[in-house]
């Protein structure tokens, strides 16, 4: 979990039928840092995430994580390389319990064989219990023990957000992509998120890349910020530098400001 690997993105571009959603974007994410991506709606923030998790095929550019060429991997092998993620519009397994969701989070560490599963051989019980222990650690960290046996469809929005973050952590990623971890949360819950991000960064040693609109949260937790607009990179720097950047202000407020 703690190997120091750098995420290197070079000249990344993607076109959707002539629309340049992301154009020639390059950045590095250093091990152990919290890297935030900001930008107005439709700037291409989530598209960058979808490119890194291989849900989209880039038209140009390279992505490396450590020595691993990410673009060589199919989407379902990305998590094996140590890259986990959450989604902007919570993608949980609605009709399963929280515990089952978290156990699916362990999928990349489990070996599934239909024949021994059908007979539920002793080895399977042993591995289930082993993985359950790991899941319980995450449940403790995220303080979601009271929801353990609830179905996702019975949970409130804030709780779902936490469960999704917990599920991503269950895969023991070394790099975590968080798509708007604080969207739709109230002040108190947003504060909780900032504490958790610190915990994840310092206790688990996970590198975090996050897309976020809440500038308070960004300046609290992010080490560096990248601002993009219309798929193009505006600037990379500390939260204060980016906030003061004239181009960023123009992108958010328009040229008259």
């Amino acid at each position: 979990m703690n190997e120091a690997r750098t995420l290197q993105v070079r000249n990344l571009s993607i076109e959707f039928g002539g629309v340049h959603a992301v154009e020639d974007v390059s950045f590095d994410v250093n091990p152990g840092e919290v890297f935030a991506i900001i930008g107005p709606n439709g700037a291409g923030k989530s598209t960058i995430f979808n490119l890194i998790s291989r849900l989209y095929e880039p038209t140009a550019g390279t992505i490396h994580y450590g020595d691993q060429n990410v673009l060589e991997l199919p989407a379902h092998r990305i998590v094996h390389a140590g890259i986990g993620r959450t989604f902007q519009n919570i993608e949980l397994f609605e009709h399963a319990t929280v515990l089952q969701n978290l156990l699916v989070g362990r999928h990349s560490h489990m070996h599934a064989n239909p024949f021994s599963s059908f007979a539920f051989l002793p080895g399977i019980r042993k591995s289930e219990i082993e993985h359950r222990r790991k899941v319980e650690d995450i449940i403790d960290l995220m303080e979601i023990a009271q929801y353990r046996d609830e179905r996702i469809s019975d949970l409130a929005y804030g709780a779902r957000k936490n469960v999704e973050l917990a599920r991503a952590l269950c895969a023991e990623p070394s790099l975590l992509l968080l798509d708007e971890p604080a969207s739709g949360l109230n002040h108190e819950e947003t504060d909780d998120v900032s504490f958790w991000l610190e915990d994840i960064k310092y206790d688990l040693g996970v590198t975090i890349v996050m897309v976020e609109h809440d500038m308070n949260l960004v300046s609290q937790v992010a080490d560096r910020v990248m601002a993009i607009n219309d798929g193009k990179l505006l600037t990379i720097g500390t939260p204060d530098e980016v906030r003061e950047n004239a181009e960023v202000q123009r992108a958010y407020l328009g040229s008259a400001a």
């Binding site: 379902h76 989604f87 397994f93 009709h95 156990l103 699916v104 990349s108 599934a112 007979a119 539920f120």
Partner: protein, 358 residues
């Protein structure tokens, strides 16, 4: 109301946690074991047929109820199982070997369909499986050298390890043992990563993929397992039918299987069993009703399909979770008496999903 105090992770792995559940399951199994003493051979054969349909229902439930892949052609796998088993046995292959080959063959056939179906969803998948069902029925009809075509194929009589099973109770016990084995195995599946990946794909392919689930391969697995179990049901069904004709495995039979799991309750093994009970008991009840009703109504042609359809419509409109859902509510009512309220089962609004990617 019983509160469970869990003290070990095994408590969450165990199937029957509550005392009430254990007692209910014990009673049902006891009844099934002594049934040959209580029932006349005709009703015993009907009960055996019910068990066979429960197996087929579980097969389809794994695919449609748990993995979310609809199949309008599942009777084809029932037919593949029935014909494979009958043809093998008529060539002198012993029963147990023939069953093993049938499982394997229908499983491979299912995986082959799953291979192409894994790229499809929704309507396209429904149409593709429907076409597959019709195609296989036609093959059964036209390949006269192997299947006897429309003039039919006699199923060899049941014989296990050289012991002939001619009595209804002997066949019934065979059905019972295999049904219990399938229920146990299918339930096992859903407390392992394999079953969880099925459910994950049903609820969100996108996040399943990002958590390391190979979506295409898991769909192929689901089709394979589902087809193998349905094929097993087909082999057992062949011994009940004693004579195979292609029409038995047509589109109507596929719809019957699908209605069975929908009425029973999607997404639960028990739902498939409930569905099998309804599908088997309804025709008997309707034929009983015919004798009671005045002849002008009772003897009208088409009464059976009409009532059948009406019941299905009412179940879907009034209880989308099927009989299983009603059963859960009933249990909840008694467990929490007198605190049950009308709103106890009202789900809160789900959140809007935008920008979803296929």
């Amino acid at each position: 109301m019983q509160f469970l105090f869990k003290t070990a992770y095994n408590d969450d792995i165990r199937f029957l946690a509550k005392t009430g559940e254990k007692i209910r399951v014990a009673i049902v199994i006891m009844f099934l074991i002594v049934a040959p003493l209580l029932l006349q051979p005709y009703y015993l054969a009907e009960l055996g047929l019910l068990l066979v349909y429960a197996i087929a229902g579980i097969g389809l439930m794994i695919l449609t109820g748990y993995t979310g892949q609809v199949s309008f052609g599942h009777a084809a796998f029932l037919g593949i199982g029935a014909y494979t088993h009958s043809i093998l046995m008529s060539h002198g292959v012993p029963f147990s070997l023939s069953i093993a080959i049938t499982l394997l063959f229908s499983g491979v056939a299912g995986m082959a369909i799953g291979r192409s179906a894994s790229k499809m969803f929704g309507f396209y998948l429904a149409i593709a499986t429907l076409a597959f069902g019709i195609l296989i029925e036609t093959v059964f009809g036209e390949w006269t050298a192997l299947t006897g075509g429309h003039s039919g194929l006699a199923v060899p009589s049941l014989e296990i390890f050289g012991v002939p099973l001619r009595q209804a109770w002997q066949q019934y016990y065979l059905d019972l043992v295999l049904t219990l084995a399938v229920i146990w195995g299918a339930s096992n599946l859903f407390r392992t990563p394999v079953g969880r990946s099925f459910v994950a794909i049903r609820d969100s392919e996108l996040s399943a993929r990002c958590l390391g689930v190979n979506v295409e391969w898991v769909k192929i697995q689901a089709f394979g397992i589902s087809a193998a179990i349905t094929g097993l049901a087909g082999a057992l069904l062949a011994h009940h039918l004693t004579y195979l004709v292609p029409e038995v495995f047509g589109v109507l039979e596929s719809l019957k299987l699908l209605l069975m799991i929908v009425v029973g309750g999607l997404g639960s093994i028990l739902g498939a069993v409930f569905g099998a009970i309804i599908i088997s008991v309804l025709p008997v009840a309707i034929s009983f009703l015919k004798d009671v009703l005045p002849p002008s109504i009772g003897q009208t042609a088409g009464l059976e399909p009409l009532l059948f359809g009406l019941i299905i419509v009412f179940v879907i409109v009034l209880e989308p979770l099927g009989v299983y859902g009603r059963w859960m509510k009933l249990r909840f009512f008694f467990e929490t008496f007198p605190y049950y309220r009308k709103s106890s089962f009202v789900r809160q609004k789900s959140y809007l999903k935008t920008e979803r990617m296929r």
